[in-house]
Amino acid sequence: MKVRLSLFLAASSVALAALPAFTARLPRYGGTLTMDIGAAVMSTDPSAAPANSDDADAKEQIDGLIYAHRSADGTFADPGPFRVRSFTPGHEAVLAANEQFEGGRPFLDTIQIEMGRPLQDRLIDLQLGKADLAEIPADQARRAVESGIRISRSRPDELIALVFDSKRAATNDAHVRKAIALTIDRGAIVNFILQKTGEPAGGLLPQWSSGTSFLFSTADDPVQSRQLWSEVAARPTISVGYDSGDSLARAIAERLEVNAQEAGISMKVRALSTDAATHSSIDARVMRLRMPVPIPQAALAHFLDVLNPLAELDVSASALENSPDAQQIYDTEAAIIDSYSVVPIAWIPRVFGLSGRVRNWNTPGPGGGWPLANVWLDNTDVESKKGSS
């Protein structure tokens, strides 16, 4: 029973803290939802190129509210549930309900998106009720709950992994990679760095997607690691890089360094800037891989496309064409894991902070956009609908 309960909770996409007093069930129309985001979107033109990956993600989410469809080439088209009422590049976007949206007029009258808000400001805005919705880094979720913020999190869909550069001589030996992999204390990373908002990763796909993740070990084995390391002829210092703008990746990289040194392996971690020249001396890097879709073969194929330029795996995404069965997906995954070229570390969910009046929020899963067309606010007055936009 305990197993089933835990699985049910894991499957549930919403976890709430500081549960508000609900007063309604059927959706209410009207009201303005205020949302804080850290990114700074500079244009609502679907063809405009964003500055970085965070901005690109936010822009895609906003585009998904303004446009109804996405064509095969990735461009958005047709009016979506909201239209742009005003837009101040990098600062604020105000979206109004599209009364003629083919999928039905959204419940909200307006969405006000405040851009470029640092995490601390987002948390304060949520606490003070100045924001209804804000994304929170997974490792800050527990702190947010302790601050009385209501949170909602997705199923874990972002993989943090150590990816070895196949071109580096230092880690060309599989014994070296395995020795490093066996030092990783995933439990400590999940418990202390992620503050229990995440789960140890043994495979390249989460259990809820593949159903076979439990077959991959997540245990560390420092004794075997020492044994393997002692058998390595040349024992180089392993350099591990992380994105300089990613504080979570840095914390994890530093923990890997501690684990490795405890097993007698020399490791140094370095921040990687956007200058590609600094990457050439890195043996491995801490990477984040977000599932684009929940379907296991498609998500794994995407990961292979991303990883292959760096890790040069013996498996290509084409191996997953033609509707592979569970055994084929598992075999593909196992071949990568057994090569120790990619070492899964942890799975983390997407976390959002919500005000007490937000209803029908369903944290987006892999590839999903902000589901704001379905959201409604509990304290809106239906009587005011005639005057709404």
Partner: protein, 447 residues
């Protein structure tokens, strides 16, 4: 180095549950199973058992003793899981010498797991230091099977229909000829007719609607049967027919310039229309016999009626989130906070009191429930009648919860009372399966 976070051995309970499952299985399923197949399992599960056992036979040495352990870490319920486990054990025992324990035995661990699109059954076969893995996947599919009745104290729920797409209402119309459709499912853009064939609902006909407006999010719809006549309402369109000639319907779009449309509400003695705001999801108010909208009862989502000698009393779920009780002169006499937006009269037949089914509060991301309330002291005439031998003339109206709430595994979108008010149709979403479900609830006395 595989690890197993969840382990549970087949035990006595499993066997008992298996036997119980067999005893509860419909007679048709329990008769004459094909050789090598388990009668309590659907064909796809039997196929999975056979395939997995075949794969295990391909990698395990049949001449060695075997120990077997089966874990369930999927969402399969206890009965389905134990039935599957028994079937696997039974089939494996035909191929291998199963032992409770043996030091040199081949160890077979089967895990009933689950992914995003399929159930995954994984067999790990360990012999000495070697280990091999075999697995089989069973696609998740919606089920159209008519379901069994499930008692729950005073409230009973019979699950009639489930489908992955949202629907607004459903009905099992009375008086349909033998060859007519047994069920109607109303979606926002279609009316679908079904017949029950061998315990499964089979599609008979689907009529595509052409509403004159884009249905709003949170659209509501209703099927109304009164005698031979049957009407269906969705935002922007309504359809009419007679049960003798179903599935033939005459449909007419409503002009989008005037989204207010009259929908019927169930009362015991006469039809009462209320003006529904089709571009939203609430009723603006009751409509008088002259066609004018009455203002005495403010806007509401649902309304429950009780006829008495003086007229009809109303309990409405107001758009302000409060349930409001009006006597037969439309005077507000009580407010009940903390209820959900769905109320419906259920004529239990237990006594002459007024019983109302209501939902809970929350939103569509949460489980819901239905609670029966006994509405007392609701009408002046009733209070006067009771005043001769009690203090009820001075007792304010009250709502007293009756029995235990009936839990649903997701939000309830609609409760529409049957015309005779003896039961109600419930449309809900099962958050565990993702299926939209149509159920009929009724109340039994003294159980």
């Amino acid at each position: 180095m595989p690890y197993h976070p969840f382990r549970r051995r087949i035990n006595l309970l499993t066997g008992i549950l298996f036997l119980a499952c067999l005893s509860l299985a419909p007679p048709g399923l329990a008769q004459s199973p094909p050789a090598g197949q388990n009668a309590a399992l659907q064909p796809k599960w039997n196929d999975a058992v056979a395939t997995l056992v075949e794969k295990i036979a391909g990698i395990a040495n049949a001449s060695e003793p075997v120990t077997l352990k089966i874990d369930n870490i999927s969402s399969l319920n206890e009965i389905d899981a134990s039935t599957s486990e028994q079937a696997l054990e039974s089939e494996l025992s035909k191929r291998f010498r199963l032992m409770p324990q043996a030091a040199d035995a081949t160890q077979i661990t089967i895990t009933l797991s689950e992914g995003a699109t399929a159930y995954i059954w994984v067999a790990q076969v360990r012999s000495g230091t070697s280990q091999q893995t075999a697995m089989v996947s069973i696609a998740k599919e919606p089920s159209n099977a008519a379901r069994a009745e499930r008692p729950a104290m005073n409230l009973r729920r019979k699950l009639i229909w489930s489908q992955p797409q949202p629907f607004l209402d459903f009905d099992l119309p009375d008086g349909v000829p033998a060859n007519g459709p047994g069920m109607i499912v109303l979606e926002s853009s279609s009316v679908n007719f079904y017949n029950l064939v061998n315990g499964q609902w089979a599609s008979v006909k689907s009529i595509q609607l052409k509403p004159a407006m884009i249905p709003p999010r949170g659209a509501r719809g209703m099927i109304w049967q009164s005698g031979e006549e049957i009407d269906m309402f969705v935002p922007g369109e309504s359809c009419s027919g007679v049960v003798a000639t179903l599935p033939e319907l005459v449909c007419a779009p409503h002009p989008s310039t005037n989204p207010a449309v009259n929908w019927p509400l169930v009362t015991a003695n006469q039809r009462q229309d209320a003006q529904f705001e089709s571009d939203r999801n609430f009723f603006a108010g009751m409509v008088s016999s002259s066609g004018a909208i009455q203002t005495a009862i403010p806007p509401f989502y649902t309304a429950a009626a009780k006829a008495s000698g003086d007229g009809t009393s109303w309990l409405v779920a107001g758009v302000d989130g409060k349930a409001k009780l009006f006597d037969s002169s439309n005077k507000l006499i009580a407010t009940f906070p903390g209820w959900g937006d769905q109320v419906a009269t259920i004529d239990t037949g237990c006594d002459d009191s007024w019983q109302v089914a209501t939902t809970g509060t929350g939103d569509s991301m949460e489980p819901d429930h239905i609670q029966i309330y006994d509405i007392r002291n609701y009408a002046q005439s009733q209070a006067s009648a009771q005043s001769t031998n009690s203090q009820s003339a001075t007792t304010p109206p009250e709502a007293v919860a009756m029995g235990q709430p009936l839990d649903f595994a997701g939000p309830i979108f609609a409760i529409w009372p049957a015309t005779d008010m003896k039961s109600a149709r419930v449309v809900s979403l099962n958050l565990q399966t993702g299926m939209y479900e149509g159920s009929i609830i009724s109340v039994s006395c003294g159980e």
